[in-house]
Symmetry: C2
Subunit: 452 residues, 2 copies
């Protein structure tokens, strides 16, 4: 699988020139580094954890996404001349030299990509010196906050689609690089394909697409509109299996023209506007009457998980989803934080109103019934020799090794494996956790803080 930032990809294969990720960093991380190197505390062994204090309002679960991108980005978190030049503008020579030789050499454990998270789940646990860990704060959070927000929204859409095809087509509604990561997160969550070509190239995600209204409009002449000519051109080029966009002018006429031009073997028609439910029934009837009984109906146009659920009883074969998935459907960021929880084996935590964190490195397990249904998540001190007893008979370890001595461990899960993990996970959620309506987290979390 080609990756933008990974050293593990040959130039010949990826074709994309990698650049440093080291400046996706807030200035204060480098000034803290300088002070910590100067007073000696920079070398203290530390544990930082990434977690979300809460889920977005009403959400029942979150989906961990971004782990693979973080591992890739870590490989090119290096300070070369360009990065050092800006650092030298405000740092002393000792710190700049330290940065020149910087490579993260610690250990990282984390929840598997595609797994659930709930409030307080320690989805990433970063172990190393303060100096080497503190630099990763912004990069790690940018990746997890973005990718998990998208995957969490996308998973709800996948649930609402109930097995029908979902095409991610939101690239144009978000930053051009965020679009590539969004396509990846949506695919992780179970979307079938993306419109984004860079996501197809970089991650091997299936690419899909139909046509724009512009293509139909392009075939206008001084004699007037010519939808048939546009359809004929598309079919000549892409074959009758293609999907024709039929709502540029009149939909009923558009469907009639489409089948007239393509014949009853036409692959699909797309409708991008109007009352999608009414139109789906009407167009299905029309297609069937024309003998195009196997022609699929693709619906798009401001669909979100509620819109998808609302079309569940209608003869829709595929949904094209744009804005809502790439913007996290109302929750564009996952609200994750990167907190120092342990210094030299001493648990530490901030003590201010409403922003408490739990000190000490943690581990986490989830208990399930024999049927597979999840019962509870238990977060406990890493110093415990074993997981606390819990409700349920089956135990899942949630934190797995990702990085050892600064290097990715062998056999990290692929994107497709994360996708399968998530698909299996959805089946393990209690029923009420799958509803779109607002409510408590689908699985309660118990925090064990006393020492054994």
């Amino acid at each position: 699988m080609p990756c933008l930032y990974s050293d593990r990809v040959s130039d010949a294969f990826s074709g994309v020139v990698r650049s440093s990720t080291a400046l996706f960093t807030d200035k204060y991380e480098l000034t803290m580094l300088e002070a910590a190197l100067a007073d000696g505390s920079g070398e203290r062994p530390c544990v930082f954890e990434v977690f979300a204090r809460r889920l977005p309002v009403g959400r029942r679960y979150g989906i961990v996404a971004g782990t693979g991108r973080l591992i890739d980005a870590l490989a090119s978190f290096r300070f070369a001349d360009a990065e050092l030049a800006i650092a030298a503008e405000f740092l002393d020579a000792t710190t700049v030299d330290w940065l020149r030789n910087y490579r993260f050499s610690g250990d990282i454990d984390g929840y598997r990509e595609g797994d659930f998270y709930f409030p307080g789940s320690p989805i990433l646990s970063v172990h190393g010196t303060f100096a080497e860990c503190v630099l990763l704060e912004t990069l790690a959070l940018s990746i997890f906050n973005h990718d998990s927000a998208i995957a969490s929204a996308a998973a709800r859409m996948v649930g609402a689609a109930d097995g029908r095809t979902l095409i991610e087509m939101g690239s144009r509604r978000t930053h051009e690089e965020a679009a590539v990561a969004a396509a990846r997160a949506a695919y992780l969550a179970g979307f079938d394909s993306t419109s984004n070509l860079e996501a197809a190239r970089r991650y091997g995600i299936p690419a899909a697409g139909t046509a724009a209204h512009a293509f139909t409009l392009l075939h206008t002449t001084t004699a007037g509109r010519d939808e048939a000519s546009a359809f004929r051109s598309q079919i000549d080029s892409l074959g009758v299996g293609t999907t024709l966009l039929v709502d540029t002018y009149d939909i009923t006429q558009g469907v009639a023209t489409a089948v007239e031009v393509a014949g009853p073997e036409l692959g699909g028609v797309r409708i991008d506007s109007g009352d999608l439910g009414v139109l789906a029934r009407q167009v299905r009837r029309q297609l069937d009457d024309l003998g195009a009984t196997r022609t699929k109906i693709v619906m798009s146009g401001d669909l979100d998980e509620y819109g998808i659920a609302g079309l569940r009883a209608e003869p829709v074969d595929a949904y094209g989803v744009g804005t809502s998935v790439v913007t996290g459907s109302g929750a564009p960021t996952a609200g994750m934080v990167f907190k120092l929880v342990e210094v030299d084996g001493i648990p530490v935590e901030k003590r201010s109103a409403a922003k408490e964190s739990r000190g000490g490195a943690k581990r986490a397990v989830r208990y399930a019934r024999r049927t597979g249904t999840l019962v509870e998540e238990v977060v406990y001190p890493a110093t415990h020799p074993e997981a606390p007893a819990g409700e349920g008979s089956v135990l899942h370890e949630l934190l797995v090794p990702l990085v050892r001595g600064g290097e990715p461990v062998a056999g990290l899960p692929t994107l497709d494996e994360g996708r399968e993990l998530l698909a299996r996970g959805m089946v393990s959620l209690p029923w009420e956790g799958l509803t779109l309506s607002a409510g408590d987290p689908a699985v309660p979390t118990r925090f064990v803080t006393t020492e054994v």
Copy 2:
């Protein structure tokens, strides 16, 4: 000014290796290209326009942002081997060859970066063959939809801050590359600085930062907390002009310790949690009592434009804004579309319910009173020999040349010039347009559609 994607920047200067932007593109653009090349319509002269059908709910104005980034990205919109490999998976040889030689050779006009836009404002007008223009849809929209959403939210915060310092510190809440673009858009809108080092490097935006709670926690020993030691370390490294984060434990104690360690010349204190208004007054009093009368108070912690406005009467010197600015404060995308409006001189438009666009290439002007206050925007057919008469005596041309024959025109406005344009623009809005409360667009737009 260094730019990631621009050919105009020497390697030695930027230090960032440029990659192609050609795959920030939806698959259907390339399949439409193939069909259009095959039937000959790809060579028809076309005009595409970028506009927003509406503003986000309640917003009074939008801010055009992204123009500079689009011009940069256009320079590296090239299909090299890596990009052609993926294209060859689904395109015929003729189209792949065409892509190999692709360079946009048309003309682009647009609103100035930092200018206002309202519903229907044609902020970008792209002229060229269908084939060369259609490929730019996703890239142009990704950039404008993201950057304009951020700048539009940021401008409201700048208004609410009423001259006080604004620091953008939201990198960790959004995709790592989106963060860089967000810092740029916030700076365009009047923010003073960013925490993001890549934005500082790439665009020359002033970087700022204080310290994290982790730095105070790091100084914990087996003997317990040691806030004083953390503060001393920061001051030794950064000088007494630095800003100390005082809310890790008890704020009152934190302020006392800060002034004890730094003396009354301490640059600033930052408070990141709690009831910011109450705390500002309390901390100001405490600082003044300690003789630290010039020590500034920096407030952060989930601030948005309303939170900033709510602190207007409090002794706050600077605001640190994160999540809300990088996510567009409730409107993470600007809702802009890229529409074919003219083919071979023939106006074209889609005719479906609720998604009408106005055919034909357009121009736009804004009228103002002699006092400078804007009265109306007038959008009219480009075929008109001159702008229609309007209310107000002063005429502003809104579309300016950006690209000619595929090359950026000389003397394009810099980011700082856009920032000044926006600052001047805010003074020209009618008063009611500056309020944060929901309402109609600050300036009405009149669409002239009849031919002269």
